[in-house]
Amino acid sequence: MQYEFIFAGFGGQGVLLMGQMLAHAAMDEGKKVSWIPSYGPEMRGGTANCTVIVSERDIGSPVVGSPSCVVAMNLPSLDKFEDVVKPGGVLVINSSLVTREPKREDVTVVKVPATDMANELGNVRVANMVALGAVIEATKVVAPDSLVAALKKNLPPHRQNLLPLNREAIDKGRSSV
């Protein structure tokens, strides 16, 4: 079984980190993983996205044309990636910032008001973890505990205090599905 994800949003939303944490968690579960940033000519500002693959066996192409899951943290990301989700795949939408309805009918759409929920938690920056919670709930790609463990292992020392908040954000995201 192989899962392919594209996480997309604007710079500052922490989309690259979302992907990395998922990859860490899956790796620690013994799966094969790969992560690539959209390494575009734009150096800063604008949109950001990354591709994560989680697989039981060796990963071929790290680039994916049609991922099994797309996470759109803002409207431009939905516009750009809606079409590429694999039929039957999952489309996770940050409904706080995405105003329009998705057009795809052959995919499972998961709407999470991630930014609002993060705001409720007191820190808009954890919107990414809310969305990531929704992702693992909808896809079951990794166990929630693995994700929390990955965060714990990989947050830099001066960010460790944010761990409980992140855990809450993940839970909130999961329960929103």
Binding site: Q20, A23, H24, M27, K32, V33, S34, W35, I36, P37, Y39, G40, P41, I59, G60, S61, P62, V63, G65, S66
Partner: protein, 356 residues
């Protein structure tokens, strides 16, 4: 082997070099390899090694020359335009028989081109972008773990042959994160280098590092010595990998990132009942021609896929001695082909809709 770490290709390469005993690193920033100098600028001072940002790629390769001549493991890295600037230096290093490692995380060309991945420096790396008859050993990893393994191998081969070894990657490989583990090298004993310029104490003849030889006869003899070394590399250092080639009717040939993509395309083709397989050169020079030639013994079709306008295909044809049709599919300018488009090409060939 260390525990698994999730690392970027560029950073894993840096760490592997340190594991291999690389004492000095000289380079000049350029996208898409800058994570490598950035990583080493943090790590090397921590363990008392030398990180030095050179004033240019030319200075960097000549610093490598000096340090390698002093008998110490040393590396430089760059991307396409910067590698072009190193060609004179590489010819000197090969001529003076100095061991060192050069990394090219190549990008779209020609000229300034773009910062996106490409493989269009294949000719430069394998045929000799510099002047004179010389060869680099060129290793092309296809995963972050292989970056680690081949980087360590590169240092060992460089010393074994007193020859520069190039790691040929691309921007995508450098930016990608994958799990890696590092071998424990703490008990590896590095080879003695009695030829190095360390100071003439009188215990040995004085050591001179050079490539000048004004007497043609002696320069020819020197070249013959180099050629014998290359012949040994050709005999013993060809490396390649195969995937589902046994029963394949169509064999794809691709290296690095593109080989990964081809693997996915092959899986998709197999699902559609097309017997496709992959031949992946790991050493681009020496090119693994014999293994490929063996595949050419059976009636099969071949398809070379490159992020270039067609460079490795010449070596493929020579290896197959023009006995089999060799098709080509290439994307350039920083475009990474998708598995789907490669599959499409496979299907077209199988359907007889392409001329080789």
């Amino acid at each position: 082997m260390s525990e698994k770490l999730l690392m970027r290709g560029n950073e894993a390469l840096g760490e592997a070099a340190l594991k291999a005993g690389c004492q000095l690193y000289f380079a000049y920033p350029i996208t898409p390899q800058s994570e490598l100098p950035e990583y080493l600028s943090r790590r090397m001072p921590e363990i008392d090694r030398v990180f030095l940002q050179a004033e240019s790629e030319i200075a960097a390769i000549n610093m490598v020359y000096g340090a390698a001549g002093a008998g110490v493991r040393v590396m430089t890295s760059s991307s396409s335009p910067g590698i072009s600037l190193k060609q004179e230096g590489l010819s000197y290093i090969a001529g003076a028989q100095l061991p060192c490692v050069i990394v090219n995380m190549s990008r779209g060309g020609p000229g300034l081109g773009s910062i996106q991945p490409a493989q269009s420096d294949y000719f430069q790396a394998t045929k000799g972008g510099g002047h004179g008859d010389y060869h680099l050993i060129v290793l092309a990893p296809a995963s972050v773990q292989e970056i680690v393994d081949l980087t360590i191998l590169a240092f060992d081969l460089a010393d074994k042959y007193r020859n520069p070894v190039m790691i040929m990657g691309d921007g995508l490989l450098g930016q990608m994160m994958e799990p890696v583990s590092f071998p424990d090298r703490s008990d590896v004993v590095l080879p003695e280098k009695p030829w190095a310029t360390t100071g003439y104490t009188g215990e040995r003849p004085k050591n001179i590092i050079r490539s000048l030889e004004l007497q043609p006869e002696r320069l020819e003899a020197h070249n013959q010595k180099l050629q014998e070394k290359y012949a040994d590399m050709i005999a013993t250092q060809k490396r390649s990998d195969e995937y589902l080639t046994d029963d394949a009717d169509i064999v794809l040939i691709a290296f690095g990132t593109v080989a990964r993509i081809c693997r996915s395309a092959i899986d998709m083709a197999r699902e559609k009942g097309i017997k496709a397989g992959l031949f992946r050169p790991i050493s681009l020079w020496p090119f693994p021609d014999e293994s490929l030639a063996k595949l050419g013994d059976k009636e099969r079709t071949f398809l070379t896929v490159e992020m270039s306008c067609g460079q490795m295909i010449e070596d493929v044809k020579l290896a197959l001695e023009c006995r089999r049709p060799v098709h080509f599919y290439g994307r350039v300018g920083g475009i990474v082909p998708s598995p789907e488009e490669v599959l499409d090409k496979i299907e077209q060939i199988v359907a007889g809709r392409c001329e080789a």
